[in-house]
Every structure is written in C-alpha cells, then in structure tokens.
Amino acid sequence: MTDPLIDLRNITRLYRSDEIETAALHDVSMSVKRGEFVAVMGPSGCGKSTLLNIMGTIDRPTSGAYVFHGPDGQQDLARLSEVKLAQHRARHLGFIFQSFNLVDDLTIFENIELGLLYRSHRHGSRRKAVEAAMDRVGIAHRARHYPHQLSGGQQQRAAIARAIVGEPDLILADEPTGNLDTENGAQVMDILRGLNAAGATIVMVTHSPSHADQASRRIDMLDGQLAASVEQVL
C-alpha cells in the first residue's frame, strides 16, 4: 500500500455561465495509493462528483496537474487528447454510478461486455471475462435480461460487473448505494470490500457514514476543498 496510483496537484475546476463563475474545486491536492479504498464525503454541492469526474477523466480541470502512475510510467492526464483519454479510461478505469447507467437496449451480458469493447479483446476471451465478472457479483442467471427487467440491486451488481470486467487499476464509484435499500446497499458494499481485499483500488463518493466507515481512508470535502483526510483501521 505504498505505490502511488494517482496524484492530483493543485486541481481547480471553474464553471462559467453567462455572468457567474463558480469554483467546484479549489486548489485540491491529494493522492491515492494502489490498493486503497477511499471514501469521499461531504454535503451536496461540495465538489465530490466533480472530483470523481476529474479522476475519471470525463471532466477536465481548469488548472492543475493529474498524474497517473501506470505500468508505462507517469502521465499527466490533464494534457492528453480526447482520444488518448478514451483509451486511458478503457484500459485503466472502471465506473459505478448511483443510477447504474446501464444501456436500456442491451442485455445484461452485453452491458457488461461494453466494459471490454473498447479494448483489444478477442471475442472468445471477452465472453470468458464477462462470465467471470457476472459470477463474482452473482448475476449470471440474468445474463439475457434487459436492465428494466432487473431490480435496482441487481442492476447495480451488473454495473459493478461492468466496472470490474476489465480488471481496471482504479474503480470510481459515485454514490453506488444511493438508489438502493439497506439490504441491497449492504450487498453492494460487501462486493466492493471484497474487490478491495483482492487488490482493487477504489474511490467512492457516498453520503452514508456507515458505508464510508468501511473504507480504508475517508476524505471530507467542503466548498470545493479538502477538509480532512482520515486513515481508518478496519
């Protein structure tokens, strides 16, 4: 738990509308080490999701550097082109959303397969990887169903399978239990903890203190800045 995976250095993200300029993130610096399970907490509008979007490279910082320590060395992601960022996401990142964001017109199997589609996987090996991911989250029996035929908990497990199917370096989870009842929420947390125990690095935004307590480190945010970072003993 000593190798750094990502370094955020003096990240600022401004949103400009016609007259108002809002700082969603203000001079944030932090790093995440390989194997860490980081929970990000804070009130609504404090910049948690913006932080996660920037880590996930689906949003760009207005200023600052975002260094990723990959197998090929260090890379400042803030300077990469759209196409390179897309490659980066396909190879190194996995996403889990509060509202699952499964594609309505694809089956569960096909949705999970999406996690491999934009990497150079052969069809046969993709199939094996998808089946393995489904087994890990326990939804193999739902492979041929469409998302709307599944319960919320099942949909989120499918979304997790999609996030992990490519064995990413970093899993980003944006309130993964936000739309779930207590029991399903607990199941999802169990899966995430299991993944972390198996070596996955996870950054999770959550509103739930009890779920945050299950992470190895907890970061509190307020008004676009880091307020506290607490190592937790599990």
């Binding site: 949003d59 196409v83 980066h88 996403f95 594609v103 309505d104 999406l114 589609l117 934009y118 469409y146």
Partner: protein, 812 residues
C-alpha cells in the same frame, strides 16, 4: 464497432419499433418515389435508343415564320428535301419516312394499318433489328414489304414469313407485295411506328403533285446522319444559304427565304422532348423525385438527431467506458448505412408493388429489370447512400460530441444544444413548407385540368362523333356523299357533314394561306396568314358554333359555291366565313364591319359573308389560329351530331351504314370527347404521378413532425408533470404543446405561399388557355397541412398531458 452497430440497428427494431418504423418507412417512401420518378425520367429521355445509330442521326424539322401561323418546330419536311440536299451535298447519308394509311386484305377481311414509304437504305441507316431476311436487300424493289414482328404474328401467326405474299390497298388501288424481312417490334420508348415498310417510289411522289417539293410545306420525316456533332453543326450552318439558293422566290420577290423558313436539325435522341414545355414537365417530375428524397433524408436527420438525444445516456456510458469519439461516429454511420440499405430494399419492393398501379395511372410502361438495370440501380443506390451518409454525418457528430459528465449528471435528455434544436425546427419547417407548396400545386393542377376539360371551346363537345374511315384515300367522292346522306337519314342523327379539321389531334394544323384586303401588302412576310378549313354544309349548326355577324353557309344559294366544285370558275368570287380573331387580325373593328368585305386568299378573290366565334380545335397549350372557312365537302373527316341514343348505339348504327356503302374499308370512328382527351391525358397522367409523389412527400412530412413532437414531448415529461402539480389542466397543457408544434407549421405556410404561387404561375404559363390562380387555394393548402399536423401531433400532446404527474416526475 461493426458488431455494436449491427446490434444497435437490430435492437432499434425490437425495442423501439415505432421509431424504427417511422424512420425506415419515411426513408423507404422517399427512396421509392425517387426510384420511380428516376425510372420515369429515364424512360422519357431514352426514346429511340433501340437504334445503335441514335447519337449520329438527326431529324430535319421545319419552322415557318409567317404572321398568323404558329412558328412551332415540326419534325417534318417537304417530300423532296432529301433529294435537294443530296444534289448539293452528295456525301450526306439520309432517309425518309412517309406514313400512309393502308388497308390490309386477308381473304374477305380488311384491316386498317399504317404503312411507311421509306428509302431503300432505311434499315441499314437505322441498323434496325432484323429478325428474318436481310437488311441490305429487304427494300431493293417496290414489290417488297418489311413487317414488324407483331404485324407478322397478327396476320400470319409466325415471324417466319419471308417470301409470303401480302395485299395492301391505298389510293392507287390494291397491290400484292412479297414479305422480304421481319424486324423486331420497337420498344415503348419510341415515337416511330415501323409496322409495315415499303419502298418510297416515284409513284408515291406523283400522288402529291406540287406539294411534294413545296418549300415550307410538311409531308414526311427526313433523317440525316453525321459522324460527329461538329459535322452536324457545320452542315446546319450552311442551311440558310442553301435555302436561299434553292427556294428562290417561293415566298415572294422581295423575301429572303431563310428568314421565312428554317430547317433546324434535332438530334434523334432529343426528338421526343422537342417541345420545351414537355421537357419542362418531365424535368419538374424528376425534380419532385429529388425533392421527395431530400424530404425523406431531412426526416431521417430529424428523427436520428432526436433519437440521438434519447441515446445520449448510452453515448455517455460508452464514452466513460473508453469509446473514442471517432469510434462512436463510425458506429452511428454504420447504423445509418444499415438503415439506408434496408430502406433501399424496402423501397425496391414498394416500387415493384406499385409499378403496375403507376403504369396504369400514368399510361406508362415503366419496368424494373434487375439484370439489365443493375448498373443504373447501383448508381441510384450510390446516390441514396451518398446523400444518406451526408445526412447521417450530422447526428453522428451531435451524438459523439455529448459530454458524458453533463449527460450523466442531468436527468434531462440532451437535445444536442440550442443549434441542434433550431436546426431540427428549421428542417421540420422546410419539410412542411414543401408539403404546403405541394398542396398548392396539386390544387392548381386539378383546377387547371378540370378547366381545360370543361371549358367552353366555342362548340359543344358532347354527342359528336368523328368518322375517320372517310379519310381513306380509296373512298370515292360518291361513296362519301352516299354515306352523308345515309347517315342523315338515321333517326338519331341531327347533322352529318364534312370537316377537314377535327377537335383534338389527328388532322394536324392544316393549311395556312395568306390573306390580304385591297390595299394591303401581299408580301408573305407581312400579310396575315389564316388557317383555311374546308367544311361541309351545316358545319356550324353541327358544331353549335355561335354566329357573330352575317350568315352561315347555305348550300342552296348559288353564290356559296363549292371551292372545289365542278361549277367553280377560276377567278370568280368565293364566299367565306371567318373566325372572330381572323376578322380582328384582318383589321375589322367589329365582326359586323367585316360582312360583305372583299379580300384575296392566296390568289383567289373572296367575300366575307359571316363571322363565327373562335373554336378551340387545337391543344389548350397552343393559341387558336385565325380561321377561314370555305365550303368544300370532298375531303376531310365526317362529323356526326346525334341525340337521344347512346354513343355505342350511334357508332353501331353508323358502322352498319358504312359497311353497306364502303365494304372494302374498315369502319373507324371516335367521339370528339375521346379525341380531345388525347390533349388532356398526358397532363392528367403527369399530374397523377405528381399527386402520388407529393402525397408521399406529405406523408413523410407528417412522419417527421410526429417524430419531432414525440421527441420534444418526451424531453418535457418532467416539465409537464411539474405544471400539473402546479394546477395546469389537461386542456391548457394540450394547448401549450400544440402551439409549440404548430408554430413552425404556420411559419412554413407563409414561406410556402409565394413559392407555390411562382411555381404554379410558371406551370400555367405553358397553357394558352389557363385559369387565373384563385387566391383561396393558398389558405386552403395551409389549412389542410395544419389539419394534418394537428391530427399528427394532437395524439402525442394529449397522451403527454394525460400522464399522472407522479409518474412524470419519477421519469428519467
């Protein structure tokens, strides 16, 4: 990427059948109209392509510039023109085709046919498709005859008829020929009729006497051949000087012949569309095909962009999972290619299914032959794919440009930004403007066609029959006279008399002669020319033509002597009747003031005894020529006015009388209404095609509007829910949504009005007898399209406003 595209394409049918069908049907309809009208365009522009020599052959035409005579280009010349050309330019290769009505005698049976008297090299000149016999020797002597395959089958039951005898009758009597060759039937896209060919001999020429080599007269078709267009142009440039040398003083001492007479060369390939109005009509139908395809593609863009909004979440997810924008664009373009291919296939089956109907409605014979037309079909597919891919680029770019973080954070479906919203509204507006223009044109066409079919022509068109058989040259004067008398004796017949011009096509423009009053110039370039009609007694009573001044002909009066009669003394005064416009053009201030006045017709002195109303015997496209009538019942057609019995019964009775008097000539007659219809039919047929095209374009417009309404409403579900929570009634919501959808339709109408007016005005310009555009058709067209739009989007608006607010607010 290919797999994702296939999957998305396939799923769109299983998961969103309505959207997929709207999209596919809209495109297929558009492509089907495009293919059909392309077939039509190709058919009309491919005339005479049966001859391999098509690009080298030119038809010599005649255009005469004389006051009072229409200066239309006619693709006919005098009989001896080719001889004149050959003696001046011996190197020029040419042939003539002179159609002749003949009777075909098979045992006791007699049939009417048309035979062509042609030059000996006719078959090799055209490289005609000879099935039996040889092209080089088939017309080497006057006793040979060449038959088309269907004529051979009609009379012999086979095409193996070379060497068989065959008897034809014409005005020089019966003659037996030997069949020397059989040629293939010409396709439908040919204006030539090559059923029976025989050698053009000096005997044929002798029949015509002085008319054979009268400069400016028209008798037969003259074709010449050149290796290159440049050679043809060079020859054409020499023609004015040639006319001046050869025609000499034909048109008067002080007249330059080539100023009066032009002999333009028309490429055989263009000879079908020689009339500029016809060409414009064909072009405009081709344009309807392109516009309909454009509307369908606009529709496709609109629906695809709207649908793209609904797929925004999918795009965002794919992007988050690492899909680069180019890959997404490629995926959407592949989806577009698949949709277009399927639409093309569906369109082909639509065309297959509808061609019989279209052929029937438009009197056409369009066919789709996959083997013969493969190249053309691939071209059409290429056009559709190219246009479709250009159209698909837009949604592909809009889609791939969505920002995933924003899309995933919002519960609202992105519409592609303000630009895309405007573009969609603008395109839908354009579509609807096209629909309103189409409605205006449909209404205008319908009114004009009804007008020409019912307008007062200066005579009563019902209960009139034309007997064509009397024009057969073997019918004698005595037989004609006997037929008139026998017909008049029939109880249902009111009048029966002769006329050398009939309402509708058949008799041609007829003869023109210069006329001048004492003191006026007799120079042909200045004197008025009148259309001279030879008519029998009671003609104006038969036609029910209004007499404006003076009197009608009265056979009992000695002074109304027969122009061609035995008592006519050359140089004596002939009584004539003129039409209203002839009297006006001759300079009389009123019809009454013309009565009793003397004039010179050609060289004969005439006295005007009556003035009658103008009669429109010519096409509604052409002006009515000034007419002069002389009493002469020896030539021309027989016309019969009847009452109290059906047309069929009258024809039957006339036929019985005919067969008693002239047993060796088949009876042939047509009602005036049917003969006039030949003028109206092409216009009506084209307007049918136009109506089919525009009807489908309107349908596509509605599909587009429906798609836009469904999309916009879908995006506003949450807003509608909120409004309901705040107390809005269903009626208020329906109004709100309708106003939003109907505003573009209303603006579209305003754009469409001036466009519709200009196009309709131009179309009506081809008619000499045209309606004034009634103003009501503009608001009516707009109202019709508004109604259609209301019916289309009303359901969507009602459904959206009826949803429970709780459900709407939970909507994502």
């Amino acid at each position: 990427m290919l797999r994702s595209a296939f999957l998305a394409f396939f799923r769109s049918f299983t998961r969103h059948p309505l959207y997929a069908l709207l999209n596919l049907l809209g495109l297929s309809f558009g492509v089907a109209v495009f293919i059909t009208l392309s077939l039509f365009y190709r058919f009309e522009t491919s005339y005479e392509n049966w001859t391999p020599q098509r690009s080298h052959i030119y038809v010599i035409g005649t255009r005469v510039h004389v006051p009072g005579i229409p200066d239309d280009l006619l693709l006919l010349t005098m009989g001896s023109l080719l001889d004149e050309i050959r003696s001046a330019y011996p190197q020029i290769d040419g042939v003539r085709d002179w159609p002749f009505p003949v009777t075909m005698h098979r045992g006791a049976q007699i049939f009417s046919e048309q035979a062509e008297s042609v030059d000996a090299n006719f078959l090799s000149f055209f490289q005609a498709p000879v099935l039996r016999g040889s092209a080089s020797s088939a017309l080497s002597d006057p006793s040979q005859v060449v038959l088309s395959a269907h004529i051979a089958r009609k009379y012999f039951g086979t095409i193996d008829v070379v060497g068989r005898p065959l008897t034809l009758g014409d005005e020089s009597g019966l003659k037996t020929y030997t069949v020397s060759a059989v040629i293939a039937d010409l396709p439908k896209n040919s204006d030539m009729q090559l059923d029976i060919l025989r050698l053009l001999t000096p005997q044929h020429e002798a029949i015509m006497g002085g008319i054979w080599n009268g400069w400016g007269l028209i008798l037969l078709k003259t074709y010449v051949k050149f290796k290159t267009p440049a050679e043809a142009a060079a020859f054409s440039a020499q023609l004015p000087a040639f006319i001046d040398r050869r025609a000499g003083a034909t048109f008067g001492a002080n007249v330059v012949p080539h100023k009066m007479l032009e002999l333009p060369l028309t490429p055989l390939a263009n000879s079908h569309l020689i009339r500029p109005k016809l060409k414009a009509a064909i072009l405009s139908l081709g344009l309807v095909g392109i516009v309909t395809l454009a509307l369908a593609l606009i529709n496709y863009v609109n629906l695809a962009t709207a649908r793209a909004g609904m797929r925004a979440r999918e795009v965002a997810v794919r992007k988050t999972l690492g899909a680069p924008p180019p890959a997404l664009r490629l995926q959407f373009l592949i989806e577009a290619v698949l949709t277009l291919l399927l639409a093309f296939l569906v369109a082909l089956s639509m065309v297959e299914l509808s061609l019989p109907l279209i052929n029937a409605a438009g009197s056409l014979s369009l066919t789709l032959d996959y083997r013969a037309d493969a190249g053309w079909l691939l071209g059409a597919l290429g056009c559709v794919m190219l246009a479709g891919l250009v159209a698909a680029l837009y949604p592909a770019f809009v889609l791939s440009a969505f920002k995933p973080a924003q899309v995933l954070a919002s519960s609202r479906t992105p519409g592609g930004g303000r630009t895309a919203g405007w573009l969609r509204t603008g395109l839908a507006m354009l579509q609807f403007a096209a629909v309103v223009v189409a409605f205006i044109l449909m209404a205008g066409f319908m009114l004009q066609i009804r007008h020409i079919e019912t307008a007062d022509l200066g005579f009563r068109r019902d209960h009139l029959i034309i007997v064509n058989s009397v024009t057969n040259p073997i019918v004698t004067f005595a037989q004609r006279e006997a037929f008139y008398n026998a017909a008049r004796a029939l109880p249902a017949v009111r009048y029966a008399t002769a006329a050398d011009k009939i309402p509708g096509p058949g008799s041609g423009p007829g003869g023109f002669s210069k006329i001048f009053r004492p003191g006026q110039s007799d120079n042909m370039a200045q004197a008025l020319s009148v259309n001279v009609s030879a008519i029998g007694p009671d003609y104006f009573e038969l036609m029910r033509t209004r007499l404006l001044a003076g009197r009608r002909f009265d056979a009992q009066r000695g002074e109304d002597q027969d122009w061609n009669g035995p008592d006519y003394v050359k140089g004596s005064v002939v009584n004539v009747i003129v039409s209203r416009s002839a009297a006006r053009d001759m300079g009389f201030v009123s019809p009454r003031s013309a009565i009793g006045q003397m004039a010179t017709l050609g060289t004969a002195p005439v006295r005007i005894v009556g003035v009658v109303e103008d009669m429109r015997l010519v096409s509604p496209n052409d002006p009515i020529p000034p007419a002069l009538y002389v009493l002469d019942s020896k030539y021309g057609y027989a016309m019969v006015r009847y009452q109290g019995v059906s047309e069929a019964a009258m024809r039957e009775a006339l036929g019985r009388v005919w067969r008693q008097i002239v047993p060796d000539v088949p009876f042939d007659c047509i009602s005036v209404a049917a003969n006039l219809d030949a003028y109206y039919r092409p216009e009506r047929d084209r307007s049918y095609l136009f109506d089919i095209g525009t009807g489908i374009a309107a349908l596509i417009g509605c599909l587009g509007l429906y798609g836009m309404a469904a999309f916009n409403t879908g995006r506003r579900v949450r807003e509608i829910g909120m409004r309901k929570v705040l107390g809005a009634s269903r009626g208020q919501l329906v109004r709100l949504l309708l106003v939003q959808f109907l505003r573009p339709v209303f603006i579209a109408s305003l754009i469409a009005w001036p466009v519709g007016w200009i196009v309709l005005q131009r179309w009506l310009g081809q008619f000499n007898d045209a309606i004034a555009i009634p103003l009501w058709i503009f608001p009516a067209a707009a109202a019709a399209s508004l109604l259609i739009a209301l019916a289309t989007v009303g359901g969507v608006a009602f459904a959206a406003s009826s949803a429970e607010p709780g459900k709407a607010l939970r909507h994502e």
